[in-house]
């Protein structure tokens, strides 16, 4: 020990002479790394600040200034005025639609998720991809599909008219989108269960019930719960379905905000107050969703391994019941898609033909909506492409710093999830409010449309890439660096090729979301910048259902191509 002490003393003595130099050296090296990280983090931080956080803060600050956070703010919903009554009704509708949709989506999606998550069969991957279709499909398409399928002029109208309008139609649209999400979340959570643990339970004599209780049941329920909470969130701020299928008596708070902010009612301060209410109300379910999803390891986990899958035995009542739920979901989704495609050939006069498609490009249609369909298609592809490019660039930069364990990365990633708290209408409202006098004017307006689409896709793409990133062996980049590659070169040459499937999936996913984004784009557009979904909405409101149905079918086809690109080469969106 004395020798050790002596050695330490000696070392300290020498170090005292050299400390200045060593600390400067280490400090410079560390500073270099920090500058590199800062440069990589800056674009995302700036993007979220400029296009999400600051505009939202300014919008809400205006509302607080006008109404305060006390009785004036409460009176926005619970006051005696007509406006308050309408807002209260909208809030009640949001809660009712969200709750009903979430309940039905979980009841239907959970057995489907268990079926998918526990069974191996031919075509399982295809089924997985099929269930992604509703998530990638523009919301307006299904709304138009329900209207065409069950509305007054539809062949099914006389028998199922109740499903074509009002609360039932809205919930039907929400369930169409979200039952698949619940199924996919449940299946993904089941895949997190340890196959070895399941083997251990089995060899110790545990049967089906014990395997459910001790191995995969809890995860599956958490997965379904997170799917249900997401359904509630998405349905609560539902826009397209209540706007087109519900009528004023079924307006959600989101639709009412849009109406106050964007239409002839023009009461932007009131809309801002209600937007603040909405965000405040959404905080709890949003954090609950994030917490449950994290516990189900749908967020923040590593890429999953191969789950334990069992072959199908249709004679078992449980399997048959699960299979029946899945078949029903596939038939429901397939029937809706088929109906949209088929009814694009159903003419208003009851006969069948291609006139709806030709009318889509006719001068009368173009004149009515103020822009040729071809131009709307170009706009759609441009906005979606630009948004996907922005998102992928930002996510790549985050990925670069994410694998370097250091303080602040978690904050940055949390920052990127901020758009989840804002609904599309509120985000667009905030953007227009903040940037209205500069970027909101026609030469620059397209940047706001791209920014809103990118902000809404960012959390999903980031999550997808981050899950893959965490699955990479931790030492690969370090190995490349010790072999002589700089940190950025190592990332580019080693990590990026391995992340390619997730990046391609993320880019396609962002592109598909941009293609179908309706609420924010509809809020921000001017005729020159109309997209296909906005055009479809205009055609519907202008009572031109023929071209509208053809346009809905066109959107299904475009989304189908996006999905094909997504699943080609084994790319998958990770939940």
């Amino acid at each position: 020990m004395a020798v050790r002490r002596e050695l330490l003393e000696q070392t300290r003595g020498e170090s005292a002479l050299t400390t200045g130099s060593s600390d400067v050296g280490s400090g410079l090296l560390s500073l270099g790394g920090r500058i590199g990280d800062f440069v990589a983090e800056l674009p995302l931080a700036l993007f979220v600040l400029l296009f999400v956080a600051v505009p939202a803060a300014v919008l809400f600050a205006g509302a607080v200034e006008r109404f305060g956070l006390g009785s004036g703010f409460v009176a926005l919903i619970w006051g005696p005025s007509l406006g308050s009554q309408v807002a209260r009704r909208a809030l009640e509708n949001s809660l009712l639609q969200g709750g009903l949709s979430a309940g039905i989506a979980v009841a239907w999606g959970y057995p489907c998720g268990v079926f998918l998550g526990r069974h191996g069969f031919r075509g399982r991957d295809l089924l997985y991809s099929f269930l992604l279709i509703p998530f990638l499909l523009p919301p307006l398409v299904v709304v138009l599909g329900i209207d065409e399928l069950f509305g007054g002029s539809s062949p099914l109208g006389p028998g199922f008219g109740a499903l074509g309008h009002g609360l039932a139609a809205i919930v039907l649209a929400n369930v169409f989108y979200n039952a698949s999400i619940v199924a996919l979340f449940t299946s993904a959570a089941i895949a997190n269960a340890s196959p070895r643990l399941e083997d251990a339970v089995t060899t110790l004599g545990g049967g089906g019930w014990r395997r459910f209780r001790d191995v995969w049941g809890r995860g599956s329920l958490l997965g379904a719960a997170s799917g249900g909470l997401l359904t509630f969130l998405l349905s609560f701020v539902g826009f397209a379905a209540p706007l087109l299928l519900g009528g004023p008596s079924n307006y959600t708070i989101e639709v009412w905000i849009y109406t106050l902010a964007r239409t002839v009612y023009a009461a932007p301060t009131l809309a801002a107050g209600l937007a603040l209410w909405t965000v405040a109300l959404l905080c709890l379910p949003a954090f609950l969703y994030l917490a449950v999803a994290r516990r189900a390891r749908l967020i923040g986990g590593r890429e999953r391994g191969t789950p334990r899958l069992y072959s199908l035995n249709w004679r078992r009542p449980g399997t048959a019941a699960l299979g029946a739920a899945m078949v029903a979901l596939v038939v429901f989704v397939g029937a809706m898609l088929g109906a949209v495609l088929l009814l694009s050939f159903h003419l208003v006069n009851g006969s069948w033909g291609v006139q709806n498609w030709s009318a889509l490009f006719a001068a009368r249609t173009t004149g009515a909506i103020g822009i040729p369909t071809g131009q709307a298609l170009v706009n759609t592809l441009f906005f979606a492409g630009a948004a996907a490019t922005v998102v992928v660039t930002l996510v790549l930069l985050v990925a670069y710093v994410s694998t370097r364990p250091r303080r602040g990365v978690g904050i940055l990633e949390g920052f990127a999830f901020l758009p989840v708290l804002l609904s599309p209408v509120i985000l667009a409202f905030a953007l227009r409010n903040f940037w209205g006098s500069t970027l909101g004017i026609p030469p620059f307006l397209w940047t706001l449309i791209v920014a809103s689409q990118a902000a809404l896709a960012l959390p999903f793409v980031l999550q997808s890439v981050r899950t893959s990133l965490r699955g990479l062996p931790s030492n690969l980049r370090g190995a490349a660096q010790t072999l002589g590659a700089s940190a950025w070169k190592a990332f580019w040459q080693i990590d990026v090729p391995l992340l390619r499937p997730a990046i391609v999936a993320g880019a396609t996913f962002a592109f598909a979301l941009g293609l179908g984004e309706f609420a924010a784009t509809n809020f921000l557009y001017i005729p020159t910048y109309a997209t296909l979904v906005v055009e479809a909405y205009l055609l519907e409101t202008l009572r031109l259902p023929g071209p509208a149905s053809a346009l809905a079918a066109l959107l299904v086809l475009v989304s189908g191509v996006a999905l094909f690109l997504l699943i080609r080469g084994g790319n998958r969106v990770r939940f």
Binding site: M1, N475, G478, Q481, T482
Partner: protein, 332 residues
């Protein structure tokens, strides 16, 4: 400025190297290695062994200290300019690249002319008997083949310092011995220096001429392997080396199991104990004995030898243990 820059001085010199992160501190670490020397760094899991290697490689930022390699201060350089080669515990082979491309990665990253890259890769393929595997990707190699590729890849850009992060921990005995011999040969014949961390004493001791110990981030002892074995200077090190450590009087002493004998109960100079385990080993018998504590407290287990397997002691027998040599250990 330092001895490391003088001809014939140490190839690697580390002075006061320190690291700190939330809840963990490492160092100061001081050591130096001459041409052809391998330092084995031992310690339990979580002691900071891998962190030390990552500090040397520049993959973690040090909060203080200096590192010289061949007289050049490399502690201030980013990882890719330090001229070190590292073999990782999980080998970290690039899964999307073939064996050939994995081996070419380092020379290419150093911007060698392509002709030289090819020559170097062919050389490595030949030296490590990897020729037939050149076009395969790592997933299609056996564990031993992957370990050879990782070692060859680390040597690709001709580093002066090699760092090994328990790369052989999962290898079977035959592969481990072959690669250990290969590592020794490479380091000696090329005049390199190497730091080899492991929690397995047998694995590291077979390679290293010098050894050092880490415990909870503290650099416990460092020196030539023979000297450390003769004089461990720490209860932790003595225990790690497999010596019998026990309290005597007010202090602690260590005895090599080969100098510890089982004798009859009550033999003069022996300590009473109860046999817990008996393992015949050729001409001798290895016995684990729980010493009867002189004062109430936890029992201390020692390994002792008994010559002649004719009368095997039995588990539960009370015997005497004689320690033929006692190395005093300093206070900790």
């Amino acid at each position: 400025m330092s001895a490391s820059s003088e001809p014939g001085g140490p190839v690697l010199r580390v002075e006061g190297l320190r690291y700190a992160s939330e809840g963990f501190q490492l160092g100061p670490v001081d050591f130096q290695l001459d041409r052809g020397e391998i330092l084995g760094v031992f310690g339990p899991n979580g002691a900071g062994k891998s962190t030390l290697l990552r500090l040397l490689a520049g993959l973690e930022p040090a909060v203080g200290g200096r590192i010289w390699l061949d007289g050049r201060e490399i502690g201030i350089l980013p990882s890719h300019r330090r001229g070190v080669g590292m073999v990782f515990q999980d080998l970290a082979l690039f899964p999307q690249l073939s064996v050939w491309e994995n081996l070419a990665y380092g020379p290419r990253a150093h911007r060698w002319p392509e002709a030289e890259v090819s020559t170097r890769v062919e050389e490595l393929l030949r030296d490590f008997r990897l020729g037939p595997l050149a076009d395969r990707i790592p997933a299609n190699l056996s564990g031993g083949e992957q370990q050879r590729v990782a070692l060859a890849r680390a040597l690709g850009p001709r580093p002066r310092l090699l760092l090994f992060d328990e790369p052989l921990s999962s290898a079977d005995r035959e592969i481990r011995q072959a690669l250990q011999s290969e590592v020794r040969g490479i380091v000696a014949s090329n005049g390199l220096v190497a730091v080899y961390v492991t929690h397995d004493l047998d694995e590291g001791a077979a390679l290293a001429a010098r050894m050092a110990f880490l415990r909870e981030g503290r650099w416990i002892a460092e020196g030539p392997t023979d000297r450390i074995r003769r004089s461990p200077r720490s209860r932790f090190v003595a225990g790690f080396l497999g010596l019998n450590v026990r309290a005597v009087g007010g202090g602690w002493v260590a005895t090599d199991p080969s100098r510890t004998e089982v004798v009859s109960r009550g033999d003069p100079g022996s300590v009473p104990g109860i046999i817990r385990d008996v393992r015949p080993d050729g001409e001798l018998v290895r016995v684990n004995v729980a010493l009867v504590p002189s004062v109430p407290g936890p029992e201390r287990l020692v390994e002792a030898l008994r010559w002649g397997a004719d009368s095997l002691p039995r588990v539960g027998d009370t015997v005497g243990v004689r320690f033929r040599e006692e190395i005093p250990l300093p206070e900790e």
